[in-house]
Subunit: 250 residues, 2 copies
Amino acid sequence: MTEFELGSRSNSGYSAWRLITEELRGEIAENRLRAGDHLPTENMLAERYSVNRHTARQAIAALVEDGLVESQRGSGTFVTSEPARLHQIGLRTRLTRSLGDDGSASASSRVLSSTIEEAPEDIARRLGLPHRKAIRVETTRSTGGLHIAVGTHWFDVERLPDIATALRRTGSVTAALRACGIEDYVRTSTVVGARHATASEAELLSLRPGAIVLVTEALDGLPDGTPLQHLVTRFAAQHVRLDIEHPSAD
Amino acid sequence: MTEFELGSRSNSGYSAWRLITEELRGEIAENRLRAGDHLPTENMLAERYSVNRHTARQAIAALVEDGLVESQRGSGTFVTSEPARLHQIGLRTRLTRSLGDDGSASASSRVLSSTIEEAPEDIARRLGLPHRKAIRVETTRSTGGLHIAVGTHWFDVERLPDIATALRRTGSVTAALRACGIEDYVRTSTVVGARHATASEAELLSLRPGAIVLVTEALDGLPDGTPLQHLVTRFAAQHVRLDIEHPSAD
DNA sequence: CGAAGTTATCTATTTATCTAGACAACTTCA
DNA sequence: TGAAGTTGTCTAGATAAATAGATAACTTCG
């Protein structure tokens, strides 16, 4: 097993306890520590990572707060038996418009704002805009009281001039597109990345600053290829898995 | 927002400069800051994140060290790096082939180890193993001198008894499968998540401890659906984004 | 019961990180 | 040329994180 040392750990921008927390979280995620298992004791962790016992305790405390482990005075700390529920969200790869990217049926999305803005150059290009004037819509999605994702949608203001009012009325992008006469649309590309959440994303998703977000960047278009919507969605990585369907070519 | 930021940022386990560094890195990776672009000045960053200018400088210094930006006294700091490269994921995804589709011959994969182990229960179930005895193979993948991904492969030891020797001989999973008589296989399912790298992953990928990995968990099978390989791949998120293949709508 | 091992809590101290202000060196542009 | 704006460097102080040691409360097991 590889342990980081003081040299590489200090000055890394990550506190010692955070690194230990995430290391243990990774072991749980990889099933090397399983439900019910006894975590290394505080003294063992302190020795393994060359830190004080208090630092090891702080690392464990973060896992306790996340519900991954439970501490019992006198006996030890154990991996929680029922792992936190993960939301499996389907990434749309064909025109499953009814469910699609909105995933589980219980998900509710809300429009935070919609403004007319100058689109960034690359987004304007992907949308095929000569003028760069676009409608920008910010949305959030939550299920079961948990904030799951925030989305930034870009529409061509000339192609869909009424999308803003339709959005405010329907509260849903899909319904708003239908109100604008778009019955069918197709996802033409999706790119997935991961990074730390920005401060505003962390606030919207009820995450700590620095939490990890999965970022999907997608382009929706008419079946003939005309681009309709550029969509950037940020998911809280600790609650979400993205499920990719692989439609067989035949 | 700014005062709230300070309060919630502390005690997060991430230093202020690290959060700023990672936010800027994300903007570069997602091509919102492009090669040649002027970074916000130190004073602008300090104001935007409500930190001292020295803290903003430290954030930039980390990007300089990673070779993403270059500072020029008097004029500013500029982006020097390209956005994260794309790794394609689709029906015919092979770890060996899909990276470096720019035709660069620099992409290479390496078999680190192969052992016979008792597979974890969930993996055994997905592979359809009654006996739980499986071959576990660890691989790494790099391109352009960058370590891109590490993979953990699981095979049925009874269905593919010779895969280990074939792997050691060929060095490639695809070639080894072909040597075992598997001419064609397809991706059945892919699930994507993200978390911090463990210390061992960070070492294999030449990342700092605490860096972010994209984790894909995939099942490959014969065209008739028989499971062949369970594959967990960890990509260095700062270098890679996943490009989800969409079937052409024809 | 008693000993050993565990988590919980407290105080004090050291070390690392962040803030504050000043000035120098350099570039850009009017 | 000069003014404004930028990065580079220095000193000092304030705040947060980690260390060190001690003791209590609880569990397990011989």
